[in-house]
Amino acid sequence: MPVSKLVGAKVKRREDPSLMRGLGEYVDDVKLADTLHAAILRSPHAHARIESIDVRAARQFAGVVAVFTGAELKDQIGTIPTTADNPTLRIPKHFVLAVEKVCYVGEGVAVVVAEDRYTARDALDLIQVEYEPLPVVIDAEKALTAGSPVIHPEWPDNLAFSWQQEQGDVAGAFKRADKIVKQRLVHQRMAPIAIETRGVLASYSAAAKELTVWSSTQIPHLLKTHLAQMLKFPEQQVRVVAPDVGGGFGSKLNVYAEEALLGYLAVKLNRPVKWIEERRENFQATIHGRGQIGEVEAAVKKDGTLLALRYKVIADIGAYHQLFTPAIPPFTGLMLSGCYRIPAIAIELRAAFTNKMSTDAYRGAGRPEATYVIERLMDRVAGELKLDPVKVRQKNFPKPAEFPFKTATGLVYDSGNYQLALTKALKLANYEKLRREQKRLRGRNRYLGIGVSTYVEICAMGPGFWEYGKVEVEPSGTVNVYSGASPHGQGQKTSFAQIVADQLGVELDDVMVIHGDTKLVAKGMGTFGSRGTAVGGIAVYQAAQKVQEKARELAAHILEVDADDLVFSDGKFSVKGVPRKGLTIKQIAQQARAAKNLPATLSPDLAADSTFEPSNFTFPFGTHICVVEIDPQTGTVETKQYIAVDDCGKVINPLLVDGQVQGGIVQGLGQALYEEVVYDDNGQLITGSLMDYAVPRAADLPRLRLAHTETPTPVNPLGIKGIGEAGTIGSTPAVVSAVIDALAPFGVEHIDMPLTPQKIWRLCQAKKAVSAGGRR
């Protein structure tokens, strides 16, 4: 970029002063007169036939305006959409309220609309539903076994879809290998737990025939299109607004039953209707993440060189598909090569229907699983070959000159310098000293563990996924930036303003970033897959460049000089050799409105838009190092040190990047140590509240030490790669690796997550420490 005052600077988040003072406007803060409130009756059974529903008493309850059942709505509202082009995909009819049978605990059965939230909730207790329970299958492996209870009778094998891919001579490599290392790995189900639960407010204007839906969503524009289809409504009469959104982590990258349901109710009842998800509903009826059971097998040479990889995985997708459910597990397959040269890779994926909530994108979405597989495997290879885990990794890195680097899964990594990030992290951690310290402490029966994970991930969804941006300078000189990205915590009101202010040479305070309203922003895709800045930011950047170019033409016209004779610097176009003669962007905007004799090609405004579709994905990478100490008597894990070196290409705002990395690391650590969605054998959700589902807290963590390397991507003009998910992807294997490293004296090679004190204690009990200071 030619001018760079703000890009790269630590600009404080402009979002925070209002959010921190409680001035944010979330869905529940949007108040409309005469609003009704909806409450949803949810299934207490994981699998049951609905024999009858009696809603008479609820309908008669004072204050209740309407009650609807699934059967009444099934022809009124289309089914919940899913997108994927997998030919094996089986899509069960997924109604907004269950019809005939329920397939998971929490599935909506009926909706009550009342004058207030309390009445709506009370009326739920008056609905009588007769269920005939059906056999339940919770375990994804069992679901794919003959004789399992069947969830959707049209597909008695419970297979939701499958996917396989093989490149290179896998069989040959396994024959040639010095050693074959195998590991079974379970990626437990996770609940995304955004601080703001979901919420929808729908309002219909009979006069304008316009339906407005406020939703806590990451994808207002995609949602608008889907809602129009589901409600059989002309799309131009649907407006979706994503106001302030209190976190998503992928869980709001979706089209949910309640969004269409509320839209329908608002039109039908011709009054605004609001529904705010309760935390317990959030656990039951908002998508879960992860949920894979895999078996990995590597063919390796004695020196640690990887020859081939085989991965067989079963994805637990739940009872139905949500928007991107079938797209997530294949991501794991594509990213299996990690940051290593692996000549041959075979993947076999089967996805199982189970009597649970759907899985879908959760921060990292397929990549944390891939990184966990390959990183755990690298540790196991190192263990089997008695090599240092760092050396095994280094040995298999592609060199910087080998980029763009093609993997045996068919991806082309844009740019990378994996050794650089690793070296920097090892230095920061003082790795060799840590190893000596570990040895010394083991001599005193203290168990320190050092975990290293080197990761690469895939971001900024490439071809087929674009983003829109528009930049408009108002006559007074203030600048509006419109983006189709829909940030919900990432901070693009700050970073996009930095990009545009630099391009136009205006003050940051003069730039306002507008997003999350389909009426204000012409089109867009949304924020997911770490694409906000790497795709959305580029669209905005290009639009700003166009504005700058147009400003040049207007300035040339107003100043009556040739456009080529103007130089742009510090927000001012001035005539070459006559620096006093010039116009600022602000002056150009002012004068453009009243410009006389404009050529036909030039309109009297200063605005431009742009759509950016990257030619390839980006591949951020890095190294995370975690140091823990285990108390074998109780099994507790103390995280003592955490070092992360991340490379997300060019950085627009280091504060935002560090914020994303911190949050990501903490979420990844949550998966490693604490979190798991647990259903019992009957399909009851055991971890149905924050009293049982443990998310990490600030006090559980040491101060994170964050650093960066900067390897720009060639796939976009700013060299940005994306950072929203990297922390989650890099941290989980680093933490697990550290714990297992600490337990090496007990002969532990692997433990499935979460690494709870109880599990660790049991292993320590089973195998007393082999010998102090022995095997590393």
Partner: protein, 292 residues
């Protein structure tokens, strides 16, 4: 998370509160800090028809010393106890225990009396109160009643309080010279409640032997209890590491440990033994540091 309808009153005096309680009986609930009660009614696990908010009754939140007794008003918040200068000197186990409860927001609102009468078998306060030994004072429509704390906890969410009574005061012995205390717990990661919590209050004689000891255990069984068998092994003896370990091993004897998602029975029993040993060690160290 939406409760059923209920009535709400905020009496200004104990007499008025007791009258309201007497009128509505079993269907009324006393509301103090609300940190145990409100989640229950929001989940509709408890559906009282009347909440009697006692938080504005004067004088029920005092923390004071009367001779060798500490008197804690039932409405004293966890934070008030945690930050009390008086208790730091006269009964430091209480501050230590308060600090282990929830987070600052919880401690700012939650009250010791509310926690005790709620009777959660994994709450922190019972361990400390049992270790110290003392008396609970109840006011009822028929007058006052005193009860030894050891007779108070009957089972999960069940205590010896009568439906028409309000817990008003907790009387505990002030900590004498040559004493030490500790409260250690293994917190359940999600809720912060004790998987196992052990409070120890001990006093050494002039020769450094254990003159007296009280050990309260929470989280292990279906109700908090005082670990008499462990105490008996230690009283009169020098607290060597070996002695501590051997006696701590008795803590789970005869107890049927709770079992849940977070800790199986054997793990809980094991943790109780480990934490008992560690809490005794910590209390001993504390006594050494307090010797004057």
């Amino acid at each position: 998370m939406i409760p059923m309808n209920f009535d709400y009153v905020m009496p200004k005096s104990l007499v008025d509160a007791l009258r309201a309680l007497g009128d509505r009986g079993e269907n009324a609930k006393i509301l103090a800090g609300g940190h145990s009660l409100l989640p229950l009614i929001k989940l509709r696990l408890a559906n009282p028809t009347l909440l009697i908010d006692v938080s504005k009754i004067a004088g029920l939140n005092r923390v004071k010393q009367q001779g060798d007794k500490i008197v804690i008003g039932a409405l004293a918040t966890h934070y008030q106890i945690e930050s009390s200068e008086l208790l730091k000197k006269s009964c430091p186990l209480l501050g230590q225990t308060a600090r282990a409860i929830g987070d600052v927001q919880v401690r700012n609102r939650g009250t010791i009396g509310g926690s005790l009468v709620h009777g959660d078998p994994a709450a922190d306060w019972p361990a400390a109160i049992l270790a110290l030994g003392g008396q609970l004072k109840f006011s009822g429509t028929k007058g006052e009643r005193w009860l030894d704390v050891e007779k108070f906890f009957l089972g999960p969410m069940t205590t010896a309080i009568e439906a028409n009574e309000i817990l008003t005061e907790i009387h505990l012995p002030a900590t004498p010279r040559r004493s030490g205390c500790a409260y250690l717990k293994m917190a359940q990661q999600a809720s912060g409640f004790a998987i196992v919590g052990v409070a120890v209050s001990l006093r050494l004689d002039a020769k450094g032997r254990c003159e007296d000891i009280g050990i309260g255990v929470t989280g292990l069984g279906d109700k908090p209890f005082r670990a008499h068998r462990v105490e008996e092994r230690l009283r009169g003896n020098r607290l060597t590491a070996k002695m501590i370990e051997a006696s701590a091993a008795l803590v789970s004897d005869g107890i049927d440990p709770l079992e849940d998602l977070h800790a199986a029975a054997d793990y809980r029993a094991h943790l109780a033994r480990v934490f008992t040993g560690r809490a005794i060690q910590a209390a001993l160290k504390n006594a050494a540091s307090r010797r004057r």
